[in-house]
Subunit: 419 residues, 2 copies
Amino acid sequence: MEQESTTLALCRRAKAASAGLIGLGEDRVNEALLAMAEALMAHTAEILAANAEDLAAAEGVISTVMQDRLRLTEARIEGMAEGIRAIAALPSPVGEVLEEWERPNGLKIVKKRVPIGVLAIIYESRPNVTSDAAALSLKSGNACVLRIGKEAYRTARAIVTALKEGLNRAGVCEDAVGLVSDTTRQSANELMRAEGLVDLLIPRGGAGLIRACVENATVPCLETGTGICHVYVDKSADLDMALRILVNAKTSRPSVCNAAEVCLVHKDVAAEFLPMVKAALVDERAEHPVELRLCPRSAAVIEGRAATDKDFDTEFLDYVLALRVVDDVTEAVSHIAKHSTHHSEAIVATDGAAIDVFCTCVDSAAVYVNASTRFTDGGEFGFGCEMGISTQKLHARGPMGLKELTTYKYIVTGNGQIR
Amino acid sequence: MEQESTTLALCRRAKAASAGLIGLGEDRVNEALLAMAEALMAHTAEILAANAEDLAAAEGVISTVMQDRLRLTEARIEGMAEGIRAIAALPSPVGEVLEEWERPNGLKIVKKRVPIGVLAIIYESRPNVTSDAAALSLKSGNACVLRIGKEAYRTARAIVTALKEGLNRAGVCEDAVGLVSDTTRQSANELMRAEGLVDLLIPRGGAGLIRACVENATVPCLETGTGICHVYVDKSADLDMALRILVNAKTSRPSVCNAAEVCLVHKDVAAEFLPMVKAALVDERAEHPVELRLCPRSAAVIEGRAATDKDFDTEFLDYVLALRVVDDVTEAVSHIAKHSTHHSEAIVATDGAAIDVFCTCVDSAAVYVNASTRFTDGGEFGFGCEMGISTQKLHARGPMGLKELTTYKYIVTGNGQIR
């Protein structure tokens, strides 16, 4: 028999561990999570040392922004431990009876929430995802296989070593949290095709990674994150509110997926609103200047660089905003249908009819009325945590909390029924 | 610009039609469904003529079983129309508020059930799937693109022509139901990769088709159907009940996915139960003799062909049953974990502890206690209909009714909230 790769062997151990997690009980799971948090704190020195090695190797290799994402401090490790404790404090999703009914033939059907099994998470260089993903998986009754980018591997290994110590101390099989040691592309490809071992693949990272998973995965995969989010300013909008929402959606954190990339403006208010946008986002009063990309009708009102077609299909993740004047809410909806990634879109309006059209017709995970797109987030939704934001329609949409990491099964009880 | 294929053009029209289905209202949808049923009846002659052409071309090309599946009669067409009317009579799943809550900052979040968009269904030669799938899609607010095997294409075309007439008469865009005219492999491959046009791909058919979809699809895909289902007879079982359940699960319709393929017997009752199995399934009293494939311990009790390893991993879909003696419920659970396709498994037992272990640890869509695996079916579950039986864990598990053909979106209403 051919030798199995270390990655598949890890998945196989995770699969075995996942069977052991079933019926472990909420108290034991929470005990394990608290032990994981404690072990993380206890091993701060080792984790920082490993992080220093990663950082030294990364210098000149990855951007300073990426280096900053990779960098841990005592405070950040404490934050990670606090994150695990917060997850422990959430109610367990497992075992919930979702529905139950009895059939005329006497069969009793119970639809019960159960873990998915083994989650594989492929992510890039944020070390805190390691502990977050492990804690979310365990709390939802799943084993996990983590695969981090090579520039953060040493850090992740130190973190996972600590987490495993916590699991061991709580008497939970340490294979429930696994870290892939092969950081080449091969291991990612193996995870994408580990049928029977990986029950759900969650890629967290840039568009390239997500694309590779969608292209190559044969295991079920949850697409996350790409956000070309729109703010539509209706003619009925309170324009001051519209401006506050737009500025927040664009500039409060431009690098995240729920930031706005495109603003659509009703033609009747363009002459008034566009100069307000320019003053707030571009001119001296702007805290951080935003580059505007203007459609021809916007360019007739304010100055700025002309938008190319591509600008309306780009997730800038930067201080750049594409602007387009539309005839009405119907044109806004149809622009969004063509260009959105189905993540988050907002309408600013007071007209109930326009709001209805927008909410009914926009086919995105989250549709906002008079609020910023930045709220699409597990914490902001009140889930207490988040494994990513789904932009697909199957299984889960929008922020994925603990419930979204579960499935269900039917338990059907009879007294000899045959068909 | 390159000319788009007829298949992708069809998907694009379906996508446009799906936008029109949003907000159509339950009454209009039901009206369209009833008009579809009526048109189907009105065109019985044309449908039978097309079916006769398909049957003539199929003679000597496909098996007689397949020919029988393909054959329509007046009664069968009436049955299809009746099926559509039954779907019209079901409550609409669309628009249901699944959850709603308010955040401390005043944001109101509503989680609302919405259609998925465009469903692509690839199936083989059963003409009735054409009208079933179209009706289920429409009732759940989705447009559909149907792709039938070439041996049944003329029949499907006649059916879809009638269905479109019904849609037209009800004033619903006829592109909501599309039939792929290219019956080569290319069209199936195009559907698997029609990102942005196909929101969900549902393959209904043999293992080869499902395998091809899992391998090649980049659009979200719902795996259906393969069932290696187990019946475990515990030492605490009422053996007469166990025999009734086993005979039903194996022989009432061996060609379907919820039929049992493997029986696991507790060692303490093997000496008594196995001869009962042989008498009922093999010997003269058997209505239709079943071929047994015996593990060594079973072979020590009754006569029969020795099982190979492969026999425990085969969906026979025939009058064949693999038998294995196990030490206890734990060994049964672990055998099932290794060999099951996670479809349906049954335990026959009176011992509560054994039942608990089985129900908790068996990771299948449906787990039966003292009932036949044959009940895994939309109708038997009380869904009133079924688009197939999911054997994956993402999105939907087990019988997929109307709810399983929907997704949800969040509508978040504020009064200017920013983050």
